[in-house]
């Protein structure tokens, strides 16, 4: 029952995309996430401008295994002498492109199948849900490895596999929301008015789920970035591209651990951490904004830590008849019954 209500609440908090971003911006943690994500996107786009060297260019390599210095703020690799800062900057491109691209494609597929399953019901629903059940038991990582083996190592294959096998979670969530929306009055009204199924799905139900989709997509982006790093670490990514996961793999096989080249490990790790953290933050703040119950309970606990005893006494005193009504004879107003906000 309550879960249902929460879902409806989530659905009804409609609004424009911009208003949505504004809400995130107003939330201190959301702002941190947005700034970090924006910064990373900027770095990825401007990589050729920002990076001191072109890590893809074989001629721009320095001595091998340099410690951090002014010329190479994060040092160079032990194996090839590439500038690690430049690799870090270029690595953002792969991570963000895969993360965001896959996230969006996944959201589209998941939302479509979820809405179809929820709204059409019957055969379509059971077919989609059976597929979900099957995909859930197939181990994802081994499957990706098998398919990259068959189809070749490229980011296209990785994205394709992520999308084809990763939509199940979103589809399930959307489906359960659609099941609730389906019985709401405005959908019924549209049905009575003779709107086509396609029209109802795209114009009435899909907008109701949009917030859930955006929230899920953000969290998925973060998850995909971790997964991409893992795949690249295993050497399953595009062998020609520089990515953070691959940097870590090279660091490990190149003896960074053995020679104590900590910067070679920390740098890509920091890249992964920052990008995942930024998207995770945004997603979690969205969750908080849509599901105010959780937020309220935690902020009340914070509030109690800062409660001022004098203020409390004042509040309680103002409840007394003496304060609220004033002494029986005097007619001067004591406006204490007016509620005040906390200082």
């Amino acid at each position: 029952m309550t879960g249902r209500n929460v879902l409806l609440q989530v659905a009804q908090r409609g609004g424009s995309f911009l208003g949505f971003v504004r809400k995130l911006w107003q939330h201190p943690k959301g702002r941190v996430g947005l700034i970090m994500a924006g910064f990373l996107v900027l770095v990825a786009v401007l990589a050729p401008v920002l990076a001191p060297y072109d890590p893809y260019d074989v001629t721009q390599r320095a001595a091998k295994g340099l410690r951090p210095s002014w010329a190479h703020p994060l040092g160079t690799t032990i194996t090839t002498g590439q500038d690690i800062l430049s690799m870090l900057i270029y690595g953002a491109r792969v991570s963000l492109m895969i993360g965001i691209g896959t996230g969006i494609a996944l959201a589209a597929l998941g939302a479509l199948l979820g809405v179809m399953a929820g709204y059409m019901g019957g055969l379509v629903d059971s077919l989609i849900m059976r597929i979900v059940d099957i995909l859930l038991v197939i181990p994802t990582l081994p499957l990706i490895i098998v398919l990259t083996n068959f189809l070749g190592r490229s980011y296209f294959v990785i994205v394709l596999v992520f999308v084809l096998f990763g939509w199940t979670g979103l589809a399930r969530v959307i489906r359960s929301l659609v099941l609730v929306l389906k019985n709401s009055n405005y959908v019924k009204a549209a049905e009575l008015a003779g709107a086509s199924r396609w029209h109802i799905m795209t114009k009435h139900i899909l907008p109701g789920t949009s917030h859930l989709i955006i929230m899920n997509t953000t969290l998925t982006c973060a998850g995909i970035m971790v997964a991409e790093a893992g795949l690249s670490f295993l050497g399953l990514g595009d062998p020609t591209a520089i990515s953070w996961g691959k940097m870590l793999a090279e660091a490990q096989s190149g003896g960074a651990l053995l020679f104590g080249a900590w910067w070679w490990i920390i740098a890509p790790g920091l890249g992964i951490f920052l990008s995942v953290f930024a998207f995770m933050r945004i997603g979690l703040v969205m969750e908080e904004v849509f599901n105010p119950r959780m937020k309220a309970s935690s902020s009340i606990h914070k509030l109690f830590k800062h409660l001022n005893n004098k203020y409390l006494d004042e509040v309680f005193q103002s409840m007394d008849d003496e304060a609220a009504c004033g002494p029986p004879e005097r007619l001067d107003e004591i406006d204490a019954s007016q509620a005040r906000g906390l200082p």
């Binding site: 509030l303 109690f304 007394d320 008849d321 009504c325 107003e333 019954s337 007016q338």
Partner: protein, 330 residues
């Protein structure tokens, strides 16, 4: 008969929120005499349930902060009792019946086990003995086939049976005071009457004092001896049940009475009180009821009236109390 079973003086409860202070209960006095059934009446959101929980000392900090000058049960002052002391009392001397038995019962524990817990907690009974008592208690509240029902889960019982289980649970140790918070609201009308009759029978039979929290005036008419009318955290009228129904003195009480459809009524229309209860964070100045009151004057907007004794056994918080029902009805 005259000694008070429950004596509550100046209870205040507030819920601090980021947006401001929710003033749930603003200093109410309440007393329940031995064997008496007192009804606390008001719209939802007026602070009734919070009062009930506060009497049981079940409000937790956070989220709430409460102050009370005196809380007495059967002449024993509980005001400064520790939580540990209160735990020994709860369920034994003071018990509560909740509104929605479906959510008030643990879904994954058999109903029998949930009643047994009370016996095991407050008596020296062994498990087997507690089980026997439980079956007896269930039979007492009219649960058929109690012997097999003890093994049921809440979802396997009908709404009426679930509420009976809650009643059996509350009466298990024959407490001195029962607090019933909207005991019949979640039920179908036909079942409501049965459960109410049972509650009344149990109360009379065991002479248990009862604090009945409700917004349903038919329940009040059926059970209560004394009525407290609560509005926005304050008591606005206190009177014997009969008086309240026959000649309400506070405009709000009168409004409540008028909104109950009666067969004898010729007007064929519901009379409603316009608008809703003020937000507990933003209450109006003066009398809390004045924005909804047809009789409101300048005085009402300026100052909150006191709860004044009008006749014997009767208190009203109003600058211009109604003198008789005819005048008020127009």
């Amino acid at each position: 008969m005259t000694e008070a079973m429950l004596n509550l003086r100046n209870l205040k409860v507030a819920f601090p929120c980021p947006a401001g202070m929710i003033r749930a209960v603003e200093g109410i006095d309440l007393s329940v005499k031995r064997g008496e059934c007192v009804a606390l009446v008001g719209e939802s959101g007026c602070g009734k349930s919070v009062t009930a929980l506060a009497v049981m000392r079940l409000l937790r900090t956070p989220p709430s902060i409460s102050r009370v000058d005196k809380l007495e049960l059967d002449g024993v002052d509980l005001t400064d009792w520790t939580d540990r002391q209160m735990r020994d009392l709860r369920g034994k001397d003071m018990a509560m019946i909740f509104q929605d038995a479906m959510t008030a019962l643990n879904p994954v524990m058999t109903v029998g086990r949930q009643i047994e817990e009370v016996y095991q907690r407050h008596t020296r009974m062994a498990r087997r003995e507690a089980r026997r008592e439980t079956i007896r208690a269930l039979e007492l509240v009219g649960v058929p086939e109690a012997r097999s029902r003890v093994k049921s889960y809440a979802h396997e019982l009908s709404g009426g049976l679930r509420q009976r289980v809650l009643i059996a649970l509350a009466f298990a140790c024959l407490p001195k005071l029962i607090i019933a918070d909207e005991p019949t609201t979640a039920l179908d009308v036909t079942i409501q009457a049965q459960v109410l009759d049972l509650l009344k029978a149990m109360q009379k039979e065991h002479g248990v004092s009862t604090l009945l929290i409700t917004h349903d005036l038919s329940v009040v008419a059926n059970m209560a001896d004394t009525v407290y009318v609560m509005y926005s955290g304050k008591i606005v009228e206190r009177a014997a049940a009969r008086d309240v129904f026959q000649k309400p003195r506070h405009p709000y009480t009168q409004g409540l009475m008028a909104s109950v459809p009666r067969l004898s009524d010729r007007r064929q229309m519901f009379v409603q009180i316009p608008d809703t209860v003020p937000h507990p964070m933003h209450k109006p100045t003066g009398c809390y009821f004045h924005p909804r009151c047809s009789r409101a004057a300048d005085e009402c907007r300026r100052r909150m009236p006191r709860l004044e004794t009008l006749e014997s056994h009767r208190e009203v918080r109003c600058w211009f109390p109604l003198s008789n029902p005819q005048e008020a009805g127009s």
